[in-house]
Symmetry: C3
Subunit: 176 residues, 3 copies
């Protein structure tokens, strides 16, 4: 089974072509660094509109068969930032540990890390994780939370992700 | 007043007798280590069904007079894991600090700690705290959060818990 | 533009004149230490009643033009403590990083820090932050989260706060 991973960029300006989306490609490049098992990205780009973000997330999970979706952008306090609200609206169960750890990690670099409202949750058998908007912060956050993601997908009967141990160590507890 | 402490094991397999519940007894044994004041456990075992978990929590608090209830199991991302949702459904007010600290503590041991969706909350005068399913993780989490529990019960006019200071130190701020 | 900052003390006893409110003045004095740009406090004092707290928060944001409101009191587990619930009820979007960091900070001093249910959120263009009730804990928490607040207000087109760098360093990421 080839893992399909959704990458959703949420940005008014990139959607309107006012600048190039650097964040989506930064996620794809990071995942290429991490993964040795085969995978393919399913890429989407939407404006900072809750309804559009919800629609894209549902599409990626329900129709495109992504069991892992990462978003970038729209997690700050600015008026148009509603990615966490859209994420919560499409998830049945939330995973508070992801946001907590990403903020804790970002706090090592900038005190404004607490302004990030990033969350994560589960829709059916899929994990949705909000990442920050800036490429450098994306890598810091993924480095922190990714070690737990392969096992999370295992628990939901998802694709078996294998990582390049020299880059990132996936952790799987030993079977009882 | 003898403190009654509810211990709720949430497990499909233990409920069906497919294996012995080790987690409930691990909690009882840990609390025996901690407490020097008299207490009695009120033990329940239910399947991973949100309705059954909610029913057991209400029973323990409203009818069995437990002002402290600890649960074990059902806090991960697997489809049947709904203990946090049941907890939130029966609580009027949430206590986010418990889950945050337990995850932070577990992160010292395993990066998959962020997959735990453990929470805690208040139903009337009772504190309900989700613990992990595995006995070793139960002890790590209880060691982290228990020091705050006796004072929490004091604030809700609950039973006065006294601890064996050589094992765990309950913290009570000095009266003003 | 003079920054107007709402200071809301939530306390049954102070409201009834049973003792003097020390927490509101402690916040004002801390903000005077921090800020070199001009500001004025808008002070309110209400009982621990969710409806009254919600009303005061709406008044401060919608009518008094406060783009920053800090509350003190009512964040513990005692039956009358409902400040976080009132805050969540009047905010459209929540800022979980504030409560997480304040609890983490307070944990350095007392293990009962996890009993604090402090939260923060956004109502329109305003940031509302719950602080603890005790003056010493107020200062500890503000020292931890305040460095992120001026930039948060910038992102919401609020007043430009300038700080005394010898006391507290506001952090503003460099423009792209």
């Amino acid at each position: 089974m080839i893992a399909r991973i959704g990458i959703l960029t949420v940005s008014d300006r990139a959607s309107r072509g006012q600048y190039e989306d650097l964040s989506g490609p930064a996620i794809e490049s990071t995942l290429n660094d991490y993964l040795t098992s085969s995978w393919e990205p399913v890429y989407r780009l939407v404006e900072d509109e809750q309804e559009l973000i919800e629609g894209a997330l549902k599409q990626l999970v329900d129709h495109d068969g992504c069991q892992l979706v990462v978003t970038t952008g729209g997690t700050g306090p600015a008026k148009r930032d509603v990615t966490p609200e859209a994420t919560e609206a499409v998830c049945e169960r939330m995973m508070p540990g992801f946001g907590e750890l990403m903020r804790m990690e970002s706090l090592k670099y900038v005190p404004t890390a607490i302004l990030s409202r990033q969350t994560a949750g589960l829709r059916g058998n899929a994990l949705i994780v909000n990442l920050p908007g800036k490429p450098k912060a994306i890598r810091q956050c993924l480095d922190a939370v990714f070690p737990a993601i392969p096992y999370c997908l295992d628990l939901m009967d998802g694709p078996y992700l294998e990582c390049n141990e020299a880059v990132i160590k996936a952790f799987r507890p030993k079977a009882k």
